[in-house]
Amino acid sequence: MTVAVASGKGGTGKTLVATNLAVALAREGARVALVDCDVEAPNDHLFFDTEAPKVTEVLVPRIEVDAERCNACGVCRDACAYGALRILGRTVVVFDELCHGCGLCLTVCPRLALSETPRRIGEVRTVRAETGGSGAAATAGELTLVGGRLDVGEVRSPEVIRHARELAAELRPDVIVLDAPPGVACSVVASLRGADLIILVAEDTPFGLHDLRLSIDLAEELRIPAIAVENRGNGAGSFLESISRERGVPVRGHIPFDRRIAQAYATGRLVADESKEVAEVIAGLAAEVRRSSDAEHEMGEAR
C-alpha cells in the first residue's frame, strides 16, 4: 500500500500530515517507510531524533570526451535532444546540468570517443525512527525514514525521488507514505506514480483553491484516487467543500488554524501528540489508509 501526500501550493501542511500519519500507522503496528520526496526542501527528518542515517549516493552518468578520438564531427550534438553537447573549437563540450543521461550520444558517436563516469547529484538517507508509542502494537510497528536530498545546484530532482522510492520499496514495508514536493510538474509525477491513494492537503484561500484544482487535474490524469484534507481552516471551509464535491474528491478532515499547532510544528514536534483536533484528523486518515490497504489485499487474494 502506497499513500502519497501532495498539494499544488507550497506550505499547505504536506509534511505535517505525512509525518504524523506515518507515526500513527507505525503505532498501530504497521511497518512503515516514510519517503521524503520533497528532495529540494526535505524536512521530514527535522521531526525525529535518530541515529546517524545510512547514506546512499544518487549517481547519474556523466559524459567524458576522449579528445584524442573526437574529431568534432557534431553527430552527438545533433542527436542530443537536450542541447547538452556543443562543439567548441576542435572538441565536444558537455553541459552536465542539461544531460538527462539517456546515453544516445554514446551510441551515435562514430569514433567511440565518448564514455560515462558516475556523477553525484544527491543522496538518500535511511534511518529507523522511534515512534514514541506504547503497547504491543507500537512495539510490533516500525518506522523507517527514507529521505531524498538533491545536492544544492543540481536539477535532476526526479532521479533522486526515484532512487528514494526504490530504496523504500526494497524494505518491503506494509505501508509507504510519500511526502511529495509542491507543484504539478515532473518531480510531482515521479513522487505520485504508482501510489494507491493521494491525500491532497489544501487551504481554503484563493491561492489554495486555485492550486487544489491543478492537483486534482493531475491526480485524474494519473488515475489515482484522491481525498482532501483542509489545513489552517477557520471552520467554514465552504469553497473547499464545493470544489471537492464538484470534482469527486471527498474532504476527510479539517485541521484548524491554531497558534499552538504552528508552534509545535515550528520546533519539530509531532503535532498530533499535542492537538486533539489534529490527532482525530490523522486517525481518520490512518483508517482510510487501512481500508484501502485491506481492499488491496482482498483483491490480491481474489486474483
Partner: protein, 307 residues
C-alpha cells in the same frame, strides 16, 4: 533595469503575498514590471487581480510514439531506453507491438535511433502556456505548466524573457519576480542573473533549513541574498533559529513581518484601489512589509547606476 527575485526554499512562507505587497509599495516611486516564475502554481496574477492579455502555447520536448503497424516487436527500443518508458501491452503475446508510457518518456529519441523498422517518431508536446497580463501595479508575465509536464525551468526562462520585454515597453526601472519553491531547476531559472534575491522565510526549523539551502544556491549563482522573516511571531524559538542562521551566513535580515490573518483581506482592498496610507496604518503586517521594502531599496544604494 534591476531585477529582484523573491524566493524561499520552503513553500507557503508568503512569497506571493510579499511580492504583491512590495509591488504596491514600489509602484509609488518607480515603474515596475512583474513575473510569476512559479509556473506550477501561478498565484501572483490572483493576488494582483490581473487581467490576462494574451497566452501563447509553450512547446516542450517530444514524446516517442510507436506505429503499431510498423513495429516488428524486436525489442530494440526497450534495450535502447534507459527510462523504462517502453512496455509491451500484452506480456504473453510475443508479437504485440510495443507502446510508450508518456509519463516515463523523457523525449531523448534513443528508441528512434535503435528501431530497425523505423516505427518510432518523436512527437512535439505542448507543455503549457506563457502569458502576459496587466495589473494596477504594472504589466505581468506568467506561465501555466500543463499537469505532469517536464521543462518547468524552460517555461520560467520564457516567462522571464516576456517580462523583460514588457518592462522595456513600459520603461520600467524594476522587474520583480515571484519565485517558485525549492532549489531545483525552476528556482535556478528564476534566480540566475538577478540583482538581488529576497528570501522569505518563516519561524520554523523547516523554514530555516530550506532557507539555508537557498542561500547555498544563491552563492553558487553569485546572486546577493537578503532575508525577511514572515509570520515572525508564530514561534519565538523558530524565529531565533532563523536569526541565528542569517547571522552565521552573513545574510542581512531586513525585517520581521508579524502574522496577520487579515493580510489577505487588506491585500484585496489595496488591489481594489483603497488608500494605501490608511490600510498600512491599520495592518501591522502591511506596515512591516512596506518597511522591509524600504530596506530592500537601500540595498541598491551602494551600487553605481547602470547605464
Amino acid at each position: 533595469m534591476r531585477t529582484i527575485v523573491v524566493a524561499s526554499g520552503k513553500g507557503g512562507t508568503g512569497k506571493t503575498t510579499m511580492t504583491a505587497l512590495f509591488a504596491h509599495v514600489a509602484t509609488g516611486t518607480r515603474g515596475i514590471a512583474l513575473a510569476d516564475a512559479d509556473v506550477e502554481a501561478s498565484n501572483l496574477p490572483i493576488a494582483l487581480l490581473s487581467q490576462t492579455i494574451s497566452c501563447k502555447a509553450f512547446s516542450g520536448g517530444s514524446t516517442a510514439r510507436i506505429d503499431p503497424q510498423l513495429c516488428a516487436g524486436c525489442g530494440a527500443c526497450v534495450r535502447a531506453c534507459r527510462f523504462g518508458a517502453i512496455y509491451t501491452p500484452d506480456e504473453d503475446d510475443p508479437f504485440t507491438p510495443y507502446a510508450v508510457d508518456p509519463w516515463a518518456c523523457e523525449g531523448c529519441g534513443a528508441c528512434v535511433y535503435g528501431c530497425p523498422a523505423l516505427a518510432i517518431t518523436m512527437e512535439p508536446q505542448i507543455a503549457g502556456e506563457a502569458c502576459t497580463g496587466s495589473s494596477s501595479v504594472g504589466p505581468i508575465a506568467f506561465g501555466k505548466l500543463g499537469p505532469g509536464q517536464d521543462l518547468s525551468g524552460r517555461l520560467v526562462t520564457e516567462v522571464r524573457e516576456r517580462a523583460v520585454q514588457l518592462a522595456q515597453v513600459a520603461e520600467a526601472e524594476l522587474l520583480l519576480i515571484d519565485g517558485p519553491p525549492g532549489v531545483g531547476c525552476p528556482t535556478i531559472a528564476a534566480i540566475t542573473n538577478t540583482d538581488l534575491l529576497v528570501g522569505v522565510t518563516e519561524p520554523s526549523r523547516s523554514g530555516a533549513h530550506d532557507l539555508e539551502r537557498l542561500i547555498g544556491l544563491a552563492a553558487k549563482l553569485r546572486v546577493p541574498v537578503v532575508a525577511v522573516l514572515n509570520k515572525a511571531d508564530l514561534s519565538s524559538e523558530g524565529a531565533q533559529g532563523v536569526r541565528e542562521l542569517c547571522r552565521e551566513r552573513d545574510v542581512p535580515l531586513l525585517g520581521e513581518v508579524p502574522f496577520d490573518p487579515a493580510l489577505a483581506g487588506f491585500m484585496g482592498d489595496l488591489v481594489r484601489g483603497a488608500d494605501p496610507g490608511t490600510l498600512f496604518a491599520a495592518s501591522p503586517g502591511l506596515k512591516a512589509a512596506a518597511e522591509v521594502w524600504d530596506c530592500v531599496e537601500q540595498q541598491f544604494e551602494p551600487l553605481a547606476p547602470r547605464l
